[in-house]
């Protein structure tokens, strides 16, 4: 390609903005598509921090230990080469963010401060109060705004990606997108695209994710032939505030600063939490995991809380809740948690500085995502992916504060790799498939608008969420997974009868949502099928019927392909060339 490459980035969270910055800096021009103004992307929700082995606390931390913690924390399912690269680049990424003006917390000497997070024994997490994601996203957003004002980036905010435009050889030649105001659907040409569309929590109804985290873009690409990998690995965070509309996260940083999880030793104890004396409290994580204590990895903490509530019947007042207590912490420590303590106070009404918080696990993060090679390219030529939308790095369980790092790392790899890819791209033949893709999408739109059924899409969504939460989260049984799949198939069938109460063609949010809903249903099947076939327990995937990890059969990446309208699963070897898999035990002291 002689002319300057045209690259489209979809999604303006940390991953997307990182890719944009690298491309603009290298002299490329980018079209940036996002449903929400990029500054309002889900990445703003991240609270606790970002990992990098800077070893500024004299603990002897190294990037290799970070590498090992990540691979071990992920129960050896992650390909090790990208994890090694990411952890090696961690310190430089933190320095860069600091140079961009992120208000990281400081030590008295003016150095970056670090806190401890789950699944490690080192203080490796840099943080900006308890709103780290917001601060990082803003720093990248500001750099992108700078490139925008220099004409290197064009933003399409309020546009939704619907699909890739593929030519006769299956090579990507652009995207099809819909303007969420005028509802106009059109195609845009590109030599390569980078998909950074985040997580898929909405498939579970209520989660800690933002509203637009539906996984719809990933699902659309999967239906166009992209592999979706490790879909069954869904992280359920141990500590979220149960809510009417969403589960609001109480970041792991609460425990990193010394927060403790407990329930009353006597399940009939009716006293107010503050007045229950120490000996009458059961700090079950500390008791069972003396070395890591409250900072065991998330999958483990989540299962322990689940057991305490449902097997031991020890939830507070018989409810599915346990205490997360920061009321004993010194005011300086509480101050570092300000952002999240405010969330609790605002939404629950109690002051967590004085009263222990009531929490329960909530769906939080997808380790699975679009399959990518070590250059962040999917199996569709010209389609790259980065951030939570791809499957690399975290294996079977993500360590806290590793996601923000993986998003930036992934974007930093995908941007230059997409540029390099376009250099050898053969010229497009004919219209590259644009007209055909536009027609396909317009047909979907008009079918939906003219549907005369009776089903309310929001009701279908609610049922999907309840079904997925019940069968495909903390504890999974094969019979339940079969039931879950049958239910999704039923919902897909009912979807054919969906009726839009709003058929207007201006800022029709329920129309856009209904389109996403279809993709959520298809992706839900991938999650359930992957879980059904994986007869072992590994990381976040736990089956009591198969309670052990089974490396012989399942030390493998799950790859789902969309074949004849259903997920077809195959397996791929995992790159374990640096660290030999060993049993994952956090109990020993």
């Amino acid at each position: 390609m002689a002319a300057a490459p045209r690259i489209i980035v979809i999604g303006g969270g940390l991953a997307g903005l990182s890719a944009v910055i690298k491309i603009a800096e290298a002299g490329g021009t980018v079209d940036l598509f996002s449903i929400v103004p990029v500054k309002r992307s889900h990445s703003v929700c991240a609270q606790g921090g970002i990992n990098a082995a800077k070893d500024l606390k004299g603990e002897g931390d190294t990037v290799l230990k970070h590498f090992d913690d990540t691979v071990y924390g992920g129960d050896f399912l992650a390909n090790q080469t990208p994890v090694k690269n990411m952890t090696a680049q961690g310190p430089a990424i933190i320095d860069l963010l600091d140079r961009m003006g992120v208000p990281f917390n400081r030590t008295p000497e003016g150095l970056l401060d670090f806190r401890r997070f789950g699944g490690t024994l080192y203080q490796r997490t840099a943080f900006a109060g308890a709103t780290t994601g917001q601060q990082l996203l803003y720093a990248l957003d500001e750099q992108v705004r700078r490139f925008e004002s220099e004409g290197k980036v064009k933003k399409y905010e309020g546009w939704e990606f619907l699909s890739a435009v593929l030519d006769n050889n299956g090579v990507c030649r652009g995207i099809c997108a819909m303007d969420l105001r005028s509802m106009e659907t059109r195609t845009f040409a590109a030599d390569a695209i980078i998909v950074c569309t985040g997580g898929n929590g909405a498939i579970f109804g209520k989660s800690t994710n933002s509203v637009v985290c539906t996984g719809s873009a990933q699902s659309a690409l999967y239906q166009q032939g992209a592999f979706y990998a490790n879909g069954e690995f869904i992280q359920v965070h141990p500590t979220a505030i149960p809510g009417e509309d969403k589960l609001r996260l109480m970041s792991e940083s609460a425990r990193g600063e010394g927060g403790r999880v407990w329930v009353p030793r006597d399940k009939n104890d009716k006293r107010a939490a503050q007045s229950i004396p120490e000996p009458d409290r059961w700090y079950f994580l500390e008791e069972r995991y003396p070395k890591y204590g409250n900072l065991v990895p998330r999958d483990i903490a989540t299962r322990e809380i689940f057991k305490v509530v449902y097997e031991d019947g020890m939830g507070i007042d018989g409810q599915p809740m346990v205490y997360l207590d920061v009321s004993h912490l010194a005011p300086e420590k509480q101050h570092k948690l300000e952002g999240i303590l405010e969330i609790y106070e605002k939404f629950v009404g109690d002051d967590p500085r004085k009263v222990p918080m009531k929490i329960f696990p909530g769906v939080h993060y997808t380790m699975g995502g679009l399959w990518v090679d070590f250059n962040q390219q999917t199996n569709i030529p010209g389609v790259f992916a980065a951030g939570e939308a791809d499957y690399s790095i975290h294996g079977a369980n993500r360590l806290g504060a590793n996601s923000l790092l993986s998003c930036i790392y992934g974007g930093f790899v995908a941007g230059p790799q997409a540029m390099a890819y376009t250099k050898n791209l053969p010229a497009q033949v004919g219209d590259g498939g644009h007209a055909a893709e536009l027609k396909r999408q317009n047909e979907k739109n008009s079918a939906l608008l003219n549907n005369k059924g009776t089903e309310n899409p929001f009701k279908i969504w609610r049922e999907l969420g309840e079904n997925m939460t019940k069968h495909a989260t903390i504890v999974r049984y094969n019979a339940g997974l079969d039931e879950a799949d049958a239910k999704i198939v039923e919902l897909l069938d009912r979807y054919k009868n969906v009726n839009l109460s709003d058929k207007s063609q201006w800022a029709n949010t329920s129309f856009a949502f209904t389109r996403q809903l279809y993709n959520m249903l298809e992706l839900a099947r991938v999650i359930v099928k992957g879980a059904r076939l994986r007869d072992e327990s590994r990381g976040a995937h736990y089956k009591p019927e198969f309670a052990e990890r089974n490396d012989e059969r399942f030390l493998k990446t799950t790859k789902a392909a969309f074949v004849d309208g259903a997920p077809s699963i195959s397996y791929e070897e995992v790159d374990t060339q640096y660290i030999t898999p060993r049993p994952r035990v956090y109990t020993s002291s």
Binding site: I21, K22, E25, V36, P37, K39, R40, S41, H42, V44, C45, A92, D95, L96, D98, R99, M100, G101, P103, F104, N105, R106, E109, G110, L111, A128, Q134, Q135, Y138, A139, E142, Q143, R145, R146, S149, R181, S210, V211, V212, G243, E244, D245, K246, R248, I343, K346, F347, G349, D350, N456, F458, K459, R462, S501, D502, W506, A507, N508, T509, S510
Partner: protein
């Protein structure tokens, strides 16, 4: 048993040029609802109080925890974030555990100073344009590894961090009497961001340019010190302090520029 319900009156408008009208909904009450979950209930069963079929209400939201800045609207006439506006509180249950008064009606309307897109969604891109005008960024040399940033005392972080918490919700602009087409005032948020970047050791290299951008019409001189912004800001930014600091800096810059020209 009769279901307990609450009434919500929504100001609606089908597009930028359409006429606005009010529609009332009756929604099943549950404790601990917020305004966004209430809007979700309407979407589940879009029927007006008189039984007429209606449509889901268009509004902006994303995080549902008051951090993305999407969902600002007028709630009972007051500019607030819909996701952190709790229904019980709006119905008079000020203290935790108090009983809400279900006979009260909640009213929802779009912000009044921004063009309506549809229903409760408005176009607030003007703020992002203003941030461009004051170059609200640190002009780094590049993203390659240039080693650690200069050391910074915790005190600077303590002062910058609260300013960096601005979620671009535009509530400070909505409530400002000076923010209108006549003055073209940039509003408090942009001024606070100017202070944030002027305070950054590397960002301060653009300090003079930023201050010049805030001199003249629509700049800091338009502020009438009504102090509504600081009262209404959901993130408690120290806005009046930022305005007076930047006001002083702009003045000094103007004097300097006068003598060097």
């Amino acid at each position: 048993m009769t279901e307990r319900t609450i009434k919500v009156e929504v100001k609606r408008q089908s597009g930028p040029d359409a006429k606005a009208f009010t529609e009332t909904f009756e929604i099943p009450y549950r404790p601990n609802m917020n305004i966004t979950s209430l809007l979700g209930e309407i979407a589940l069963n879009p029927r007006a109080i008189n039984g007429a079929e209606s449509t889901p209400i268009t509004y902006d939201s994303n995080c549902l925890e008051e951090i993305c800045g999407s969902c600002a609207m007028l709630i009972n006439g007051k500019a607030m974030m819909a996701c952190s506006a709790l229904v019980d509180k709006l119905l008079g249950a000020v203290e935790h555990g108090q009983k809400p008064d279900l006979s009260k009606t909640i009213t929802l309307a779009p912000l009044s100073k921004f063009p309506v897109v549809r229903d409760l969604a408005v176009d607030r891109s003007v703020l992002f344009e203003n941030l461009k005008a004051v170059k609200a960024w640190v002009p780094i040399d590049g993203t390659y590894d240039l080693g650690a940033a200069p050391r910074q005392h915790p005190q600077i972080q303590e002062e910058r961090y609260p300013l960096s918490n601005c979620i671009s919700c535009t509530i400070c602009m909505e409530v400002c009497p000076q923010f209108n087409d006549v003055t073209g005032f940039v509003g408090a948020a942009t001024i606070a961001q100017t202070k944030l970047f002027n305070m950054d050791p590397a960002g301060s290299v653009l300090k003079e340019e930023r201050l010049r951008a805030l001199a003249g019409d629509g700049g800091i001189q338009e502020c009438g010190f009504a102090q509504n912004c600081v009262q209404a800001c959901p993130k408690q930014l120290p806005l009046t302090e930022a305005i007076s600091d930047i006001g002083r800096d702009v003045f000094i810059q103007q004097v300097k520029d006068f003598f060097t020209h």
